[in-house]
């Protein structure tokens, strides 16, 4: 197990200064995620417009570097995407964590793919997988309009 694979610069950066933190204006969907074992919490806010595009996306929450980085990277990646593309990215992400599958969504730039892939180090730390995945499950709930 390599600690540096888990705590890469990019993760430390997002963990320390998470992007899109707070409640975005005019959100029309939100969902809460909670890890009862550790007490970490996340609250996703998003604005889905008439064209079914994620116009705005943000989060509130407290947690470890991995969970904050994951939330931050998620908002940067999904913001501006169509609903269907967003769902594909989520399923690719969860697949990557579970099965080492590479991110295949065409509409992501190589940089974005590298950023998302930086979270894959969590695979080697089974007890920490939920830290990385919880916010992605929460986003699914928000997209489907399921509150909490």
């Amino acid at each position: 197990m390599e600690l540096r694979e888990l705590y890469q610069e990019i993760i430390l950066d997002h963990g320390k200064s998470p992007r899109n933190k707070g409640r975005c204006d005019q959100f029309n969907r939100d969902a809460k995620g909670h890890n009862p074992l550790c007490g970490d919490k996340v609250h996703i806010f998003l604005k889905l417009n008439k064209e079914m595009k994620v116009e705005d996306l943000s989060f509130e929450g407290e947690g470890c570097a991995i969970s904050l980085a994951s939330a931050s990277i998620l908002t940067e990646t999904i913001k501006g995407k169509d609903l269907n593309v967003a769902k594909k990215i989520i399923s690719d992400f969860l697949d990557m964590i579970k099965n080492e599958v590479k991110i295949s969504v065409n509409s992501l730039s190589d940089d974005q793919k590298t950023t998302i892939m930086s979270l894959s180090g969590v695979k080697q730390f089974p007890m920490r997988v939920k830290c990385a995945t919880m916010v992605w499950h929460t986003l699914t709930m928000a997209l489907e309009g399921k509150n909490d």
Binding site: Y7, C38, G39
Partner: protein
């Protein structure tokens, strides 16, 4: 037994964790097991095993005798008056649930009050919440002060004619605060209020004498006392066990079963339904033998020395914030670090072979009160040494390196 050699009696330390020697600082979560306990379990299964209290064949007699000998040993260790005051359960959690359910059913009614503290582990709050929901009772929380301890006056203030039971921890698994149980019992006795003590952390790390403490109920977790997993003890004064209804029904706890009516067994069988944890109970004797071979006083002295040493070193580290500063403190240190979440601390420490726990430690009420979502916790056992603390402190410095702080 010399305390310096103790580690050699624990086979778990014969291995490397991530290529480093194991530094186990998670004994408040669960303690490791000496070889004598493990060997006893194996020997029991290999040569004595049978169900207890039922058969008449030779093995049944052997296992029943060994099982009941442990009850006698526990009675002596905690200084109970009667052997039937010792009830084996699956853990301290079940011990508290047993009391909350049976005492709650019989003695707590709408508007009655249950007095607990903000220090309590979920296992000494959630069972009382069941009583609150079922009976319409009220739970009052004696507040913690800024040192992470509960002052006796805060408990005094909350006692009134509606108070039906006081349930408090002996030793907080977060701040390490040791509660003044004798004083609480003294105050409660004036109003005939029974006192339950959650001894999950107290039993392994303090001298426990039921006659000295005077409490009505004392819950013990055997796996935190160098004993086997899946076993707990409820000590209860005989007068309570006689009047409380059975907790669970099944074989072994009955006297006579008819279609119209059932009568229940005498104590302690009344509270021990079904097949018990036979090998666990039998081998718990060896855990007590182990503690006695060193002496609980020596163990306490050793753990307190380690704690003082660790506190001194950690306080010098500017990035570390110790949670709570109680006057009487047991072998637990919870801490946070600037800019590093406790989960990240625990993962990075593990890389250096150091096992600690991170989270709310099943004390969300306390963490909310302290304004924290999680803390990192190092807790000590008889097998720890100053070298372990030095490794811990180095590993903490490594957290800063990993996080570029």
């Amino acid at each position: 037994m010399n305390i310096k050699d103790v580690k050699n009696y624990f086979p778990i330390f014969n291995q490397k964790i991530n290529g480093k020697p194991l530094v186990y600082l998670d004994s408040a979560n669960s303690s490791q097991k000496p070889k004598s306990v493990i060997d006893r379990m194996v020997r029991f299964y290999e040569t004595e095993y049978s169900n207890v209290g039922r058969g008449v064949h030779s093995l049944a007699v052997k296992s029943t005798n060994s099982f009941e000998k442990t009850r006698d040993k526990v009675k002596k260790y905690i200084n109970a008056i009667f052997r039937e005051e010792i009830i084996f359960t699956k853990g301290a959690t079940e011990s508290i649930n047993l009391v909350a359910t049976t005492y709650g059913d019989k003695f707590i009614n709408k508007g009655d009050e249950i007095l607990i503290t903000e220090l309590e582990h979920h296992s000494n709050y959630v069972p009382w919440n069941f009583v609150r929901e079922k009976k319409g009772a009220i739970i009052k929380f004696a507040p913690v002060n800024e040192n992470g301890e509960v002052e006796i006056d805060e408990i005094k203030k909350l006692i009134n004619d509606k108070t039906k039971i006081i349930a408090v921890t002996h030793l907080s698994n977060v701040t390490g605060a040791i509660m003044p149980i004798k004083k609480i019992v003294e105050i409660a006795a004036k109003k005939n209020i029974p006192v339950l003590v959650d001894g999950t952390q107290g039993a392994p790390h303090l001298e426990i004498d039921m006659q000295d403490l005077g409490c009505d109920f004392y819950a013990i977790s055997c796996h935190k006392m160098y004993g086997p997993n899946g076993l707990g003890i409820l000590y209860a004064k005989k007068k309570w066990l006689e009047v409380l209804p059975p907790y669970q029904g099944g074989g072994g706890m009955i006297d006579e079963v008819k279609k119209e009516n059932i009568t229940y067994a005498e104590l302690p069988a009344k509270f021990e339904p079904g097949t018990m944890q036979t090998a666990e109970v039998v081998s718990f004797s060896e855990a007590l033998n182990f503690i006695e071979s060193i002496g609980i006083k020596k163990i306490l002295e050793h753990e307190n020395n380690l704690m003082e040493y660790a506190l001194e070193k950690l306080k010098k580290n500017n990035s570390v914030n110790i949670v709570g500063n109680p006057k009487n403190k047991g072998s637990v240190i919870c801490f946070t670090m600037k800019g590093i979440h406790p989960h990240d601390i625990a993962t990075i420490l593990d890389d250096d072979g150091v096992a600690i726990r991170a989270g709310h430690h099943c004390c969300q009420i306390l963490h909310d009160k302290l304004g924290l979502t999680a803390t990192a916790r190092a807790s000590f056992g008889v097998y720890n040494s100053k070298d372990d603390i030095d490794t811990l402190c180095k590993a903490i410095d490594n957290c800063k390196k990993v996080f570029n702080i």
